[in-house]
């Protein structure tokens, strides 16, 4: 295993390097959010959940992907919020949307209809095949923790051309076996999605505060492919509840640029008008 910087062609135009031993001028969560924003291609259609996915998708619209289309499950298509929404149905999402449709329509025509490129999801638990649990910790009938439930995620995970999962990495979250499958990733391995007739491609990346995991093309198992600046392989291994496979070549993420950080911070804490 070797850790390489990204090839020059993939680097941002003006990478600001953090000198060794110096405190980085950004948090691990900011790095995760920036990495998630970079994963969104300009012009694609993105189904957005609330929290970090929503912040990242809005950051992408401001830096690098101005024509990204944001869909929230409240039926707001092409929303362009100026401030981070607390809920998926804040008034600003409706006021800035290109189209406003009902909940049956957003799920049936738009998501199930195959019109969404990227689904952006979080989870309370994730396993090596990127199956997600947002339902219960413990047994379903007598849960230790009752979580909110599946919401829109099962069909987002099934129908989008790809799904990107954004979640902080710890052994509590990255588990050997999820307590409940709320949304299917690759099930028990290769061929399961096809066998069940899921039309979307499934998880393409899991972006964490430590690095990026991608499914191995053959085994579908999540594999460490990228480390954020200052993070070592050991840290990721010990933050993972299964025996994590490390890709033959692990890339080193570019730290957030000044432009990315400024846009992120301005979106989160807008100057009072």
């Amino acid at each position: 295993m070797t850790v390489l910087p990204r090839p020059a062609a993939e680097r941002s135009a003006s990478p600001e390097r953090i000198a060794d031993g110096q405190e980085p001028g950004y948090s691990a969560e900011e790095m995760m959010t920036v990495a998630a924003a970079r994963a969104l291609r300009d012009g694609s259609v993105c189904f957005v959940g609330i929290g970090v996915p929503s912040i990242a998708a809005n950051l992408a619209r401001r830096v690098g992907a101005p024509n990204l289309v944001l869909i929230y499950e409240s039926g707001t298509i092409g929303a362009k919020p100026q401030t981070p929404p607390l809920s998926i149905g804040d008034g600003e999402l409706a006021e800035t949307a290109d189209a406003l449709v009902s909940v049956p329509e957003i799920f049936n025509y738009w998501l199930q209809g195959g019109r969404v490129d990227v689904g952006f999801l979080g989870a309370a638990q994730i396993d090596r095949f990127a199956n997600l649990n947002t339902t219960v910790v413990g047994a379903y009938a007598a849960p230790k923790v009752r979580l909110p439930g599946a919401g829109g995620a099962p069909e987002i995970a099934a129908c989008c051309k790809e799904t990107i999962i954004v979640v902080r990495q710890s052994p509590r979250t990255f588990v050997e076996e999820v307590d409940f499958i709320s949304s299917m990733g690759f099930g028990k391995g290769p061929g399961d999605r096809e066998r069940l007739g899921l039309r979307g491609g499934g998880p393409s990346m899991v972006i964490t505060d430590l690095g990026v995991l991608r499914p191995d093309p053959t085994s579908c198992e999540l594999t460490l492919t990228e480390l954020h600046p200052g993070v070592e392989v050991d840290e990721v291994v010990s933050a993972t509840g299964w025996k994590l496979t490390i890709a033959a070549t692990v890339l080193r993420s570019e730290p957030p640029t000044e432009r990315e950080l400024a846009a992120l911070r301005a979106f989160r804490s807008p100057e009072p008008a």
Binding site: E73, S87, E95, V103, P104, N108, Q112, V145, G149, F180
Partner: protein
Amino acid sequence: MRLPDAVAALVHDGDSVAMEGFTHLIPFAAGQEVIRQRRRHLTLIRLTPDLIYDQLIGMGCADKMVFSWGGNPGVGSLHRFRDAVEHGWPQPLELEEHSHAGLTNRYVAGASGLPFAVLRGYEGTGLQSLLSTVAPITCPFTGERLAAVAALHPDVAIIHAQQADRRGNVLLWGIQGVQKEAVLASARSLVTVEEIVDDLVAHRAGAVVLPSWTVTAVALVPGGSHPSYAAGYSSRDNGFYQAWDEISRNRPHFLEWMEEHVLQPPAVPAGAGTGAG
């Protein structure tokens, strides 16, 4: 119709009740009137239970909940819902748990007069095996395996809208959720509105009109969706959603708050202050 009279006439002990409104236009005032009238053994149906069902559950009004996402949006847990499921307080709560797409299509089938609706859904999830209202079905044309979801027919739907006219036609606009389907799928319906107007002007984004003959009762309740909101009349009270986390976290504090803000007459919307504009 006055809200207390409408709730007394339309909502009975043991009913299945769908109070819909997807983040926007949640019928809080009507839900709190149900609490004041001490309805019991309800089956509560709603995609996103939100704070209103947290209040109904915590006050012991519900035996069962049919839902798809039970959190406080952007904040965290619904503590009363969790307490009922994790500890059976104030009573056990039976769950029927769907995805948004699945539960939405149960309403669509109900509104359409069909026994079931079809979708690509639930495959590979743990929800499938828990649900008697979801079953696999084979497409007669392509042979594909799909999910059938049983039609939903609530006894009563309760929604909040911006306006009604004097004949009882209802207009809502903005984020429209699944309210139209909930009303058309239900045996009875109650609509609370911000305002009664002479003429409904329906050319607004997301406008939905429910003709008077699809609605059982209309009650004028300005601010009746607070701390949710009614586009054109109020903004979502995100501060109250954040404050609810603390209010609802422990049982005595929750009961004290409900006593002071909901049970005591005269009835005022929860955390009133930023209601109707």
